[in-house]
């Protein structure tokens, strides 16, 4: 019997972990990454002849039936949340169901690109980073308008494509706000096992918020330290709203601004510091009310206009005016200097 190295044993273990796609229209290509709840594989959609990503739920390595059911519910919810968010900045879901080996999966667009935290060093100028940030705000603002909070915004959950397209990923911790519960889509008719699994999940009758608190009940802390809001860190699930995501966006902006270059310097301008501080205020009431407000302030900064988060003094205002109209001011100054010099020009 041939000796198997430790590496070979691990690869065989991982290979044995591969989903059985028999009976589906997908052909497995390779394992891409491991997420919080399952493994993401690249696969070929044989019908539409395109590459897609499959997220397959792994069962935990224990006998906790309740935990298993909860994980199934989470993955299903994630796929349904994504299905209702059709936006260029949010990865679209194509399909969901149960594999022949019994595991739950959903198929989504295959994203080619790099994580924001991996690519950020290649994007030096501050304006470029701010424009990236505005695209993230677009996607998150859209989700909020559909009543969905992300709850785990961080650089690792943002992908940047080869053409600069930005995708907000990993909506596994997303929360659907109560006002939008009635509009939550039902499972598709073909995916009967999904409907069965959903009905088996522990829930009270009615509201999504109740179901949500079963999944992330008060006191449970889910998110990433450094990026989750104080109320999220305290496990106050019922208090979470759009402002929690705004806190995370502020932390993301702070991350983007580290090492960013503006006018040959890496020193952070005060208006941007003020924007970060307002977004990351300890109390939600002191933060921006909506993602659109945060994005508007960043846009104003990029346009050389005053931002709501920062009160300029006279000198700063004059300096901003000068920077914005620098060429025109220099031209007029040149004209005036020329005119003054001509006064002394000897006339023939």
């Amino acid at each position: 019997m041939k000796f198997l190295s430790d590496k070979a044993v691990e690869r065989l273990r991982a290979a044995g972990d591969e989903p059985d796609l028999t009976g589906t229209r997908y052909r497995l290509l390779e394992r891409v990454a491991r997420g919080g709840m399952g493994v993401v594989y690249a696969a070929q959609d044989e019908k539409l002849e395109r590459r897609i990503a499959l997220k397959v739920l792994d069962e935990p390595r224990d006998d906790d039936v309740l935990a298993n059911r909860e994980r199934e519910s989470r993955l299903l919810r994630e796929s349904r949340v994504l299905a209702r968010l059709e936006h260029p900045g949010i990865v679209p879901v194509h399909d969901a169901g149960t594999l022949s080996d019994g595991r739950i999966f959903y198929a989504m667009k295959f994203v080619q690109g790099q994580r924001l935290d991996e690519i950020i060093e290649t994007v030096k100028p501050a304006p470029d980073r701010l424009r990236l940030f505005l695209r993230i705000c677009d996607a998150v603002g859209f989700a909020h308008a559909r009543g969905v909070l992300h709850r785990d915004l961080k650089p690792a959950n943002v992908m940047v494509g080869p053409f600069g397209e930005v995708l907000v990923m990993d909506w596994g911790l997303a929360k659907i706000l109560p006002d939008n519960a009635e509009s939550e889509p039902r499972a598709a008719p073909g995916s009967q096992s999904l409907a069965n699994n959903a009905s088996d999940a522990p829930q009270d009758a009615g509201s999504t918020q109740t179901r949500d608190s079963t999944l992330t009940g008060d006191g449970s802390v889910m998110g990433t330290p450094g990026y989750m809001s104080p109320e999220q860190a305290r496990g106050e699930v019922r208090l979470l709203d759009a402002r929690s995501d705004i806190f995370s966006l502020g932390a993301l902006l702070h991350f983007l601004l580290e090492g960013a270059e503006a006018n040959g310097s890496t020193q952070r301008p005060r208006p941007l510091t003020a924007i970060c501080a307002k977004a990351m205020a300890e109390r939600p009431d002191n933060r921006y009310k909506a993602v659109s407000e945060l994005a508007a302030d960043v846009s104003r900064y990029l346009d050389g206009q005053p931002v709501s988060a920062y009160r300029e003094n006279m000198f700063e205002r004059a300096g901003r005016f000068y920077r914005r109209h620098q060429v025109a001011i220099l031209l007029i100054a040149t004209y005036l200097i020329m005119r003054a010099l001509l006064l002394f020009y000897p006339r023939s």
Binding site: M1, L4, L12, R13, G16, D20, R27, D101, G102
Partner: protein, 217 residues
């Protein structure tokens, strides 16, 4: 029992060598003696899946057996009526990789379980790979097995599907399909062998989840 012995004997051998620091000859005797003891005293009948995993139980039995042997200092031949399974101790010793045991290499108590599990898994997978090889030979799928060997058994991260396609002169899709088939068969064979050495369905499910992270339905 034959299957169980095949799956566990190397792990038992290496465990005794490392944990009990026995010379090679003694370890060979102890390994054979343990399995004879397992049969003669029907130790498996006393195993309760609710209390622990089978390999944990076996490891504890090994410890108990070795301690008892030390006390009794017995070295006589056993098991005259029991069919012997040929055990390749030479290969097991080579795999262990040491001529003399370095005390620093002895795993700490917390990792003994992991070591035993790893060696058991190595044996189980090794047997499954051999069975897969035989199956591929019978079904004239030699290329499939060679691809499986080159990609999944070699443990070389630099090898890609494209490389294999070039080396074998076949399209990348064929590489993908072949590896997919081989892995599916490997998994089926591994789970089949696992089921043979588990005493109940519940135990099998637990072991399958521990090995592959999920349970086939």
């Amino acid at each position: 029992m034959d299957r169980l012995c095949q799956a566990y004997w190397k792990a038992v051998y290496k465990y005794i060598r490392l944990r009990w620091n026995r010379p090679i000859d003694d370890t060979q005797d102890l390994t054979q003696g343990f399995f004879v003891e397992l049969i003669e005293r029907s130790l498996l009948a006393k195993y309760d899946p609710a209390k622990s995993r089978l390999r944990t139980y076996l490891r504890v039995c090994v410890d108990s057996f070795v301690m008892n042997e030390e006390k009794a200092a017995k070295r006589h031949k056993r098991g005259g009526n029991i069919q012997h399974v040929a055990l390749d101790f030479t290969s097991a010793e080579q795999e262990l990789g040491t001529a003399a045991i370095d005390p620093a290499a002895i795993p700490c108590p917390e990792s003994l379980e992991r070591f035993f599990e790893k060696e058991w898994l190595r044996s189980l997978f090794g047997l499954a790979v051999e069975e897969l090889r035989d199956r591929c030979e019978q079904e004239q799928r030699g290329t499939t097995f060679r691809l499986f060997e080159a990609y999944d058994l070699a443990g070389d991260d630099s090898v890609s599907y494209q490389h294999l396609a070039q080396d074998f002169g076949i399209p990348v899709t064929d590489v993908t399909n072949a590896l997919s088939w081989a892995r599916r068969e490997f998994r089926r064979i591994s789970l089949g062998r696992l089921r043979e050495i588990c005493g109940s369905e519940a135990e099998f499910q637990r072991e399958a989840r521990a090995v592959f992270g999920w349970v086939p339905k």
